[in-house]
Subunit: 131 residues, 2 copies
DNA sequence: AGATATTTTTGTAATTAATATAAATAGATA
DNA sequence: TATCTATTTATATTAATTACAAAAATATCT
């Protein structure tokens, strides 16, 4: 496996992701990073996002539509608003769920789990109530 | 909203899904259903899968790669093998997780959640141990 | 620093998954 | 049967992502 070589683009992508709380898509990263690197290619963004996921520096969130990326490394889950589609962090105490299921379930070794909550975010709820 | 009209293709897609335990993708459904309807269009498969999801007769499982579909309506979750990619059912007692989080989390109304477990399935584990 | 080796980027093309559309067909209703 | 409306088919299109080759950037060695 070839050694990972430094690149300014990758560093910038990482920093950009760390500065955001809203789990951007590859395309959002591309749009914003272009201010610093006007010639950056979308392929470069995808490639570096994949690399960062591989090294464990960021996480990929797969859901309806485009994948999203998250630089928060502390264990947590996500909430998606079914109205506006925003994605918020959920720091819920669900630590040992995978472990519990691993003990009870006999068709394989459960190593972890992803939990995606859904519903209505506060902002959409407010708008609905006002209408 | 227009009334739903019977179609042989939709019935066949539903029956096919009910006969399987492995959560096929739209393309797998298309390939197999062609034996009965050689001229069926992939668009028809997608459209009917969406309709069946809307009526609640089947569920859509969004994950890495193509969406998968599941005719089992009893509440359960899924396990994906990170080696072979197979998807298995997990009948785990996680009933009130969404409810619990809804009470503790203040940025919106949590209506439900999807849980995706991952790890190594028994079959892949066996193969790895033999090698 | 200069030369060399290897990775990364860029620009573009290709692929995959899914949706859209319009004419033809099938199902429902009177 | 006649008519109305939904569905299918065939095809085109969009969206998300990956692949590739030449050029540029980074790391290593002397």
């Amino acid at each position: 496996m070839a050694a990972l070589k430094y690149s300014r683009q990758r560093e910038s992508i990482k920093n950009y992701l760390c500065s955001r709380e809203d789990h951007p898509t590859a395309d959002m990263v591309y749009t914003d990073i272009r201010r610093e690197f006007p010639n950056i290619s979308l392929g470069t963004v995808y490639r570096n996002l994949s690399l960062l996921v591989e090294t464990g520096e960021i996480r990929k969130i797969t859901m309806d539509g485009a994948d999203r990326f998250d630089a928060k490394t502390t264990p947590h889950h996500h909430f998606t608003c079914r109205k506006c589609g925003c994605v918020l962090d959920v720091m819920a105490p669900v630590e040992n769920l995978a472990e519990t299921v691993d003990e009870a379930w006999e068709y394989g070794d459960v190593e972890g789990c992803r939990i995606e909550f859904y519903g209505i975010c506060s902002r959409c709820k407010k708008i609905l109530n006002e209408a």
